[in-house]
Symmetry: C2
């Protein structure tokens, strides 16, 4: 069993992270930076978090609390989690209980209105840059499905195949094919076909004059200076990139979907997404009042860690950086055993004596995402920290959690026919009461 | 009868323009600049000609020969006009005979292919900034109809209501309504419904995934630096303006219209347009080979003069700057008598003695656009120059030319029903052989 060691130029881990694992905190906060040779503890450099890059020069990884301040969003406090429980009558999703969704904008307002019988709709999305999706890609969809279920509301899912065409060295046809393939994995998350509309930008732009009207309306009210400031575009960037943010913004407004909302422009939108997508929606919220639309509300998630370490997003192009939705039980087992960064000690003796560190242990982090049982998770944490649980044993628990989860996903995906995909992706009325 | 006088700080007209009227030269070339208080004869300043502004600091007006050099297009020589006559077996249109269409790109190539039975299609357009169209707006359409007739080929007409929304202080609904109203005037020019597709960008973008695919393809291959250089955009411009050029470029490629060309991407496009639109198509021609499409060919017209003088385009917002398609016979008469800049002398005595100057006379210029009879036009020129024809008499000829022309247009427009508009504006197959 090969484990990555924390060497970090002699600095010990606790000193580096400055804290122990705390329940309710997003795991990726407490992570060492493996890419960065030198530890930069104490140097207050800004993290780089935008829709295309997530990196940090800080060995602690992305500082989510700082991000909240920098982005001007609000922390999801226990109070908000409790309120969601009260309003929905459902136990909060583990992503809320454990601070994986850690930041929001206007969620209290959404709940205020909901309590007064004013409903809302959900909008999330994905950039289909490849056929291969990994477990990290499921986070927003797992959470969005839960929101759809507990609030009983309609959902639109944007597949930005046009964005991927603009940013990557790919043909339009490839990006579109990836969108359709990704849609199958998304559908396999269990969304209700009567309440969910999934669309490819290439298709929907060409079939909805109302969507295009909103895109142009947004494009009229955002300057190059603004997108330069928000997204860091340069004069050498193509004009497609420069105008794209309006296309990701447009689904935030209900009249982009007249087939669903019958032309109403005042239906509140709630966007669950990873925090790196926030720049798009800061821009959207800035534009909204100027074009007479309500600002979308947001729920932000932290980043899902790569097997090798947690400070950056996983890469779909590196098969060993994550567990893919197409992995066999054997591949899952091998990848976790071989590549999952361990918080354990070098030898069994040391581990038994000093215990492992769950804060940097990717296997433990993955369990915080996928093991729903709070008590079991807490016991694993205690046992691992005390040294009672060895790295190999911890990995075994993760393997036995992921293997059936992925197998079930594959089974559900197999049942997604072309006909089902077509159903989800056809602009049509949805079944709900506002 | 009030006439505007050429005062121009004592400089005499011939000295200023440097030449007499020559048949076959575009009239607006020989024009004094009324906006500019001081004559700038001899100072070699560049004309400003882009899709939104046409102005010149040169009292001679826009120098079209210089524009050809600057834009890198080719002059329409007698040889090309003769060739068009030979290939089509038709007398060249007066706009060709008189150099009103004066510049081209690749027209010889288009004719080479046509002679080998390889056909092409026409693309022209209009920015619908108001309901009111004036006679100048008809120039590209009159010429395009002639091209459609003599070559027997399909035609697409783009109404850039999205552009007008982006550039003007107008609502989307207004721009779209202007597009539909303008379509009626365009249809009244006599286009063959079986060979012509007219579209509003707001509508067609939202009903053709193929059109949007081409727009994004172009947007991927043009940088902000490029559009900044070509169109003079600044960082304070909205991202809609910055990406718009791709939307005007896309109809240059035949696979933007699968309903017409069945997905073929290799059908040659010929664009008749005013020279100020050339920047869009220089960009288009630059992009075309990089995305695997043929470059569109072009035929450029000079500018139609305002009643008050010829160096700039007319303004649709100034009712007295031109003859509108809705003007009554009386309005036509009054406007011409009151506002048409005259090349005549101050008194009848002087006029009889020295003769008038047709080169700056707007009434005479208008006749070069609308009086088809070459001999009659030549006789008018001679008589006016000799002093035999007085300004009032010249204006009377123009009035009697325009009154029936406009009345007939109004009659034809009245017969354009909503049903007819819908027919023209519905994406559908056209009737032609390639």
């Amino acid at each position: 069993l090969k484990c990555f060691k924390i060497t970090l130029l002699g600095t010990d881990y606790k000193h580096l992270t400055g804290q122990d694992y705390k329940a309710g905190c997003p795991p990726p906060e407490n992570v060492v930076n493996q890419d960065n040779g030198a530890a930069t503890d104490g140097i207050d450099e800004e993290d780089n978090v935008d829709p295309w890059n997530v990196s940090t020069s800080n060995a602690k990884g992305v500082d989510y609390d700082k991000l909240i301040v920098r982005f001007g969003s609000s922390k999801i406090e226990t109070e908000l989690v409790d309120r969601i429980e009260k309003v929905t009558g459902q136990k909060p999703h583990r992503f809320l209980r454990r601070g994986i969704f850690f930041s929001h904008r206007d969620m209290h307002q959404v709940l205020d209105a909901y309590e007064k019988n004013k409903s809302f709709y959900l909008y999330t999305g994905r950039g289909p840059s490849s056929e291969a999706m990994h477990v990290g890609h499921l986070i927003p969809f797992i959470f969005t499905k839960w929101l759809q279920d507990v609030f009983d509301i309609p959902l639109v899912i944007q597949l930005t195949d046009d964005e991927k065409y603009l940013w990557k060295d790919l043909a339009i046809e490839e990006c579109h094919r990836f969108a359709v393939e990704n849609a199958k994995d998304i559908i396999a998350c269990g969304f209700d076909v009567n309440k969910t509309f999934i669309f490819s930008d290439f298709d929907y732009m060409g079939s909805s004059p109302e969507f295009y009207r909103n895109v142009v309306k947004i494009q009229k009210h955002v300057t190059y200076n603004q997108v330069k400031g928000i997204f860091g575009f340069t004069d050498s960037d193509c004009i497609g990139k420069i105008s794209f943010p309006a296309i990701q913004a447009a689904p935030s407004f209900s009249n982009s979907f007249p087939q669903i909302f019958g032309g109403r422009k005042d239906v509140q939108c709630l966007i669950p997404c990873a925090i790196d997508q926030d720049p798009y929606f800061r821009m959207t919220r800035d534009v909204a009042p100027r074009i007479g639309y309500p600002k979308p509300a947001l729920l932000h998630s932290s980043f899902f860690p790569a097997l090798q370490g947690a400070q950056t997003k996983m890469s779909a192009s590196d098969a060993n950086s994550s567990i893919f939705l197409t992995d066999t039980p054997k591949q899952i087992k091998n990848k976790i055993n071989k590549h999952a960064f361990s918080g354990g000690k070098d030898t069994i003796e040391e581990h038994r004596k000093f215990g492992g560190n769950p804060d940097v242990d990717v296997s433990f982090m993955y369990l915080t995402f996928f093991l729903d049982d709070d008590e079991q998770l807490e016991k694993i944490k205690q046992d691992y920290s005390s040294g009672a649980l060895l790295t190999g044993e911890l990995k075994k628990i993760l393997i036995e959690t992921l293997q059936p989860m992925i197998a079930q996903h594959q089974e559900r995906r197999k049942q997604v026919t072309e006909e089902t995909v077509k159903q989800f992706m056809t602009p049509r009325p949805l079944n709900f009461k506002l």
